[in-house]
Symmetry: C2
């Protein structure tokens, strides 16, 4: 029985690329804003990798984003007028068009929370900006680690006092779902074929028999409603 749905956020719930590019364009008119946003995001995984491998202690993503901004600004040969203000672009990402209504419907069926590599601080401000109606904020900060480390999924389940099999991880990334499934969570896939722009090649389709495979969050809510009518989903506090 699923009692909570936890969500990847960057790419799955929000369009980081267009949102960050918009803010880059506003303060750095001399650069190709989409290329800059893509390069900034490109530093994301290598920065976390050092922490996952134990070469560096846990540092919240806000700090990694700022370090990565400096790296990318150097590579583009530009000086950022207000580094902290531009870094906060990650708190002002816009949701995909189906997300707000979909989450509102899902919230009536189960607990909903982000399980992101973003910090509580980042996810809280982003939720206010984008109108994401989370019940609580889970993810990296609770485990002091980064997905796909198993402890991030497990700490999120533990914070809700639920066994992994009572929690469904929802993501647009097959690797995120594979890691969640490996530690016992249920899995839901929603494709986001424009996350990386028109030339996207990865995660265009589900690469495993995920428990739910949905077109978008409206379709996800419809499928979860069917599971609920079969007694496979339950709803705390509603």
């Amino acid at each position: 029985m699923v009692e909570a749905l936890i969500f990847d956020v960057f790419g799955t719930c929000v369009d980081w690329r267009a949102s960050v590019a918009r803010e880059v364009a506003a303060v750095l008119p001399e650069v190709d804003a989409e290329a800059f946003a893509t390069a900034w995001r490109g530093e994301y995984d290598p920065a976390m990798a050092r922490i996952r491998e134990g070469a560096r202690g846990y540092v919240p993503l806000d700090d990694l984003h700022l370090e990565n901004l400096d790296t990318v600004a150097r590579a583009f040969g530009v000086r950022v007028p207000d580094r902290l203000a531009l870094n906060a672009a990650w708190e002002r990402l816009d949701p995909w068009p189906d997300v707000i209504q979909g989450l509102a419907a899902l919230k009536r069926l189960a607990m909903i929370a982000p399980c992101s590599n973003g910090s509580i601080a980042l996810m809280t401000r982003l939720a206010r900006h984008a109108g994401l109606p989370w019940d609580c904020i889970l993810g990296a900060d609770l485990a002091r680690g980064y997905k796909p480390q198993p402890e991030v999924y497990l700490a999120s389940c533990a914070a809700l006092r639920l066994p992994p099999e009572a929690v469904m991880m929802v993501a647009a990334h097959n690797s995120d779902l594979a890691a969640a499934r490996a530690v016992g969570l249920r899995t839901g896939f929603v494709a986001r074929p424009r996350e990386h722009g028109p030339g996207q090649v990865q995660d265009l389709r589900p690469e495993s028999d995920w428990d739910v495979i949905a077109e978008d969050f409206a379709d996800l809510a419809a499928q979860i409603l069917v599971l609920r009518s079969r007694g496979e989903v339950s709803c705390a506090g509603a």
Copy 2:
């Protein structure tokens, strides 16, 4: 500049006594339900004290509530038919009448979150039951300790990446505010003279010059709005 308001929950936001007594009355018709609820709550502080003092490692409040239920049932000489179901009464507490509308108004002015001794699991389910529109859940679980330990307030500020002076603790308990002020937070007092029933003697009035002293959450929201108009409160993501 205050950017977040964090709240005590039991007593300040919700009427634990009447709510727990209602559930006790439903399953233990043979006992005085209000006396049982008061006795159950009476075990709360001694149970946390052992953890604060280091005599016991951190255990979430859900578990302490269950242990305390067994203690009180023994003292009352009753057998509880479904211990876990009755223990979940703490997830079904009703808000004081001014709370929902007050929090909705406050949420437009600053980030809002519980800073309670309840776990993330408990606070999340309670928020769904009572309709508390938190931006995120802070408190005991983040610090693995119990108020009034300073680390609970400080971990809650740190999770939002705010210095203590940018966070206001709101409570109906003078001791909670004194502990928060001691580590640099701003303070807001709202009296709840019926929390302990008609014979309440403690916390009937503010016992210090707290930064804000309000009649109820509507008054609190009105006073915070004035502070905002003076530039002393700022509003992330709205």
